[in-house]
């Protein structure tokens, strides 16, 4: 009771208490992640836009107690999404660079992790710091982890004149905090499960400065005004994952996650994945994932009049919709003998086909509005192809 009173409702105090309790557990062993390098090309194509670029990840151990890593990632974005088309624009280009560094420290059978990420684009700057601790105990059958991260963003807006950027102005700041915990449990010789929970607390300027809502004018026409979001958003997500080794050499992975937030969005997703090695060199993977969500309480595809409510959204990610993903993956282990320091190298290719169906967000392109009338356009839907091609080296 005294402990409960001490913890109160202060999230940082509760988190620190859980952290200290976790670090005091008796443990048997903990290991650092293996040394590896990944060079990846990624490509997303769908909904009128293409996003591609490289990602390079390098991880190296030092003196068996420290593992340092770095990740460089870029997004090259081009095309015209439904948001641009509905405003009569036709093309858009953007470049985002993300750099992360971190290290894991093994001490007294506990792994402590620290990392920093910077994401930079002309109209958005984000910096985040993350801290995590994980520990194996109960004869290595259980792994507990806690993580905390904080991100500070500066949201800016490009002002366009004659199709080019005339200036970039600051619109506001946003702060993000994440509190997470994980529990991984060996259940049998062939079955392992993991439970994850994470709370996210957002504060500040949370909407996209470019997006607007539409509303009916008294004369039957349609007007536009900028979106207005609340300045706080709290969310909770809980996930359960299972890996099972089948009677022959193959694995079945199941996942379920549920989500709800203070904007009234409830979401669920589940996934089934089958991993099947073939010979010594090939591994094949097939998966199916389904996601659905309800709308934010302040979303409306067409508001009845200007300033119809305090908060206004017409972002399609705030609407009610569902999506499905069908994915295939193949890994080929290269048999090379040129470099003695390489333990293993693989070539990997993954293809995901995503299909989005919106339930109350309409495709209000000028053509659709002219043909069907305001508020009667067909609901938006689109498909996307997501590719990952990468080389992995373990050393």
């Amino acid at each position: 009771m005294a402990v409960t009173e001490f913890l109160g409702r202060n999230p940082l105090r509760i988190f620190a208490f859980a952290l200290l309790t976790l670090m005091s557990l008796q443990s048997v062993a903990a290991v650092l992640p293996e040394d590896r390098a990944d060079v990846l090309y990624h490509r997303y194509e769908g909904g009128g836009i293409t996003i591609d670029g490289p990602s390079v990840l390098v991880r190296k151990q030092f003196k068996d107690t420290v593992s340092a890593w770095g990740n460089y990632y870029t997004d090259n974005i081009s095309g015209a999404s439904i948001d641009l088309l509905s405003r009569g624009s036709t093309y858009y280009e953007e470049h985002r660079t993300e750099a992360s560094v971190g290290f894991d420290y093994l001490h007294d059978r506990t792994v402590l992790s620290l990392s920093h990420t910077n994401s930079s684009e002309r109209d958005y700057e984000a910096n985040s710091y993350a801290f995590a601790v994980s520990q194996d105990f109960f004869g290595d059958m259980t792994t507990l982890s806690l993580n905390y991260s904080q991100g500070n963003d500066e949201v800016r807006q490009n002002i366009y004149e004659n199709g080019s950027i005339a200036e970039t102005i600051k619109r506001g700041d946003a702060k993000h905090q994440r509190f997470g915990l994980g529990l991984t449990q060996v259940l049998t010789e062939k079955w392992i499960m993991a439970f994850n929970a994470e709370s996210v607390v957002d504060e500040g300027f949370l909407n996209n400065p470019y997006r607007s809502v539409r509303y009916l004018l008294p004369d039957g026409g349609v007007g536009n005004q900028p979106e207005v979001y609340p300045e706080t958003r709290n969310s909770d997500a809980f996930a359960l994952r299972s890996m099972y080794y089948l009677p022959y050499r193959a694995a079945l992975r199941l996942e379920y996650r549920t989500y709800f937030d203070s904007w009234d969005i409830n979401a669920d997703n589940w996934e089934i994945r089958y991993i099947h090695p073939y010979g010594d060199e090939w591994t094949f993977e097939i998966k199916y994932r389904a996601y659905s969500q309800s709308q934010a309480e302040f979303f409306n595809d067409l508001f009845p009049y200007e300033d119809a409510q305090n908060f206004l959204a017409r972002d399609k990610e705030m609407s009610a919709y569902s999506d499905t993903t069908f994915g295939l993956g193949v890994t080929y282990e290269l048999k090379q003998t040129f470099f003695s320091w390489i333990d293993k190298s693989t070539l990997n290719f993954y293809w995901d086909y995503m299909s989005f169906d919106y339930e109350n967000f309409r495709a209000n392109t000028p053509e659709n509005t002219a043909e069907y009338g305001v508020g009667n356009e067909p609901f938006y839907q689109f498909d996307a192809n997501v590719l990952r091609l990468f080389l992995s080296i373990n050393y």
Binding site: T4, L7, P11, I14, F15, F17, T21, L25, Q26, D38, L40, S55, L57, N71, Y73, E98, S115, S119, Y124, A126, A130, F138, G139, M141, S149, H176, F179, G180, L181, V186, L187, E189, K190, I192, N196, A197, E198, S199, N208, S235, A239, R241, M243, Y245, A250, Y259, I265, A267, N269, P277, Y291, Q293, A296, N348, Y350, M354, F356, A384, V386, R388
Partner: protein, 75 residues
């Protein structure tokens, strides 16, 4: 969520000092299947980080990704 973290912290208390009577039932030498690389929840961190970013940018839900999560400038 606060209630969950508090329950989690209090649940751990009996384990402190080894005051736990249940013994591990899968020994280290019985984990050959679990050690197979195909049994990793995620085998490739850069690839997982990317696909989680795709989901987070296209869907309102976020959090509890399990690995390779974290903040991103994906507004």
């Amino acid at each position: 969520m606060l209630r969950l973290i508090r329950c989690f912290a209090l649940t751990l208390l009996p384990f402190v000092g080894g005051a736990c009577s249940v013994q591990p039932w899968v020994q280290s030498h019985e984990r050959g299947y679990l050690a197979d690389p195909i049994m990793a929840f995620e085998q490739h961190p850069a690839s997982t980080r990317y696909i989680n970013h795709v989901y987070e940018a296209r869907e309102a839900a976020r959090g509890a990704e399990g690995s390779a999560g974290g903040g991103c400038g994906c507004n």
